[in-house]
């Protein structure tokens, strides 16, 4: 099928985009990289009256490294992240996961803000943002506010975004020198959405301390597994007793099956992903 008809607007500044969104909020949809919205338009799942194209707003496409944080503009594309020395040096978790996000041609267009705003439960980026303890910086014509990634993803394709708000940027704290990370996803084909995946950060490796273990592709939203973190806390990444407890704790998670994979399979695969991510913790 082809996309339905819509009114197309291409503002050149964030303030112009915010004004357009403010004036047309009920009927307008923001177009970021379009790698999910365009298929939805073709399938007519999305039928907005207006598309507000953010692709010409240069101020949303910058990566700024501060002393404590890296601030990534919402329209920064995955390919831009992959090419960034700052991301390579400062954000090893994001860096190691990027090649697993879709395919090269998709990463050349897809944006970090678009992925956050869509909140696809199978997407890697929302889980990576939670595991990285990121903050989402939101703006509207009236105000700006900061929402932690922990609170931002509220449900199936649902976020804390309010009408009239646009994601301006995403701030990720620079990890400490002792921090370690793990990422693993199980897919049918490289680059496909994961059947189950996990992103892990810990402030130190031996013993594991202050972990964030976030599963994706297994529930209605990325799931931070607090019980799993507790089971692993103060152990080591190859402590089989602790890992067994951590996998056992997955039984308490509210998982959701999809058309290919039932809940029990998801739970099993989440455990496999966890084990492998822990083996590759670095």
């Amino acid at each position: 099928m082809k996309a339905p008809d819509f009114n197309y607007q291409r503002p050149a500044s964030l303030s112009a985009a915010l004004q357009l969104l403010h004036d047309n909020d009920q009927d307008a949809q923001l177009l970021a990289g379009g790698q999910s919205l365009m298929p939805m338009l073709h399938l007519r799942i999305a039928q907005p009256d207006m598309l507000i194209d953010l692709n010409r707003i240069d101020e949303l496409a910058t990566i700024d490294a501060g002393d404590a944080h890296i601030e990534i503009g919402s329209m920064v594309r995955y390919a831009q992240l992959e090419a960034s020395e700052q991301i390579k040096t400062c954000l090893p978790l994001i860096c190691s996961a990027l090649p697993h996000i879709a395919h090269s041609a998709i990463r050349n267009r897809g944006t970090i803000g678009g992925s956050a705003a869509l909140a696809d439960p199978a997407a890697e980026m929302p889980a990576l943002l939670i595991a990285s303890n990121a903050s989402i910086n939101l703006v509207s014509t009236k105000a700006s506010r900061v929402v932690s990634a922990d609170d931002f993803f509220t449900g199936l394709y649902e976020t804390a975004l309010q009408p009239g708000e646009i994601i301006k940027s995403i701030s990720i704290p620079k990890p400490g020198n002792n921090s370690v990370f793990g990422f693993y996803e199980i897919t049918r084909r490289h680059g496909d959405y994961a059947m189950a995946g996990v992103a892990i950060s810990a402030q130190q490796q031996s013993p594991l301390h202050k972990m964030r273990v976030v599963f994706f592709g297994v529930a209605e939203k990325p799931l931070r597994a607090h019980n799993c973190e507790q089971a692993l806390e103060n152990g080591t990444a190859n402590d089989s007793g602790a890992i067994d407890l951590a996998i056992k704790s997955l039984e308490q998670l509210p998982l959701m099956g999809d058309q290919h994979t039932g809940v029990d399979s998801k739970r099993h695969l989440a455990g496999v992903a966890l084990k492998r991510a822990l083996q590759e913790l670095h």
């Binding site: 008809d5 009114n7 790698q35 365009m38 399938l43 395919h103 090269s104 490289h190």
Partner: protein, 164 residues
């Protein structure tokens, strides 16, 4: 709402300057095929899954179905016709023919575009890396083996040339 909104776009396609008025809902690959007659880029799934519509926009390979033609305003676009005419994909095309890396040919323009990106980014003759790079392009005929053979051969030639 303004139905059937159209916009004027100006872009360079295969080194030729194009001025056109397009309905805003038309995607880039439909525009290239239906308005410009560049039917080398194929329309498969229209969901970004199959890769048959892969074209180059401002130096990067993208899904032609996941961009609006209106978004390409001011851009430089190259399609398989451009790659073939300029000789940029010459070695790859020859290797695809030699290795029987195509049967029905539907995926080939997109496959060549992805392979070209791999080689031009300095990709080496590593089968796993090649497979990873073309993982976003479906081929339903060949089983990929011959396609990987072809790309591997050209990557090997490039390495040898670089080494001399």
């Amino acid at each position: 709402m303004n139905h059937a909104q159209q916009v004027d776009i100006e872009l360079i396609v295969n080194h030729e300057k194009i001025n056109c008025r397009v309905p805003v809902r038309v995607n880039l690959v439909d525009f290239l095929r239906n308005e410009l007659g560049l039917t080398g880029s194929h329309v498969g799934c229209e969901q970004g899954v199959c890769g048959a519509c892969t074209v180059e926009v401002d130096g990067t390979m993208v899904r032609g179905c996941l961009m609006l033609a209106a978004q390409a305003d001011g851009s430089t676009v190259n399609t398989i016709e451009g790659f073939a005419e300029s000789g940029r994909a010459g070695h790859l095309q020859q290797a695809f023919a030699t290795h029987n890396a195509l049967q029905c040919g539907f995926c080939t323009p997109g496959m060549l575009a992805s392979a070209l990106e791999y080689l031009e980014q300095g990709g080496v003759a590593d089968r796993a890396a090649i497979r990873q790079h073309i993982s976003g392009n479906y081929c339903r005929c060949t089983g990929y083996q011959a396609i990987v053979d072809a790309i591997e051969e050209v990557a090997g030639q490039t390495e040898t040339t670089d080494g001399q």
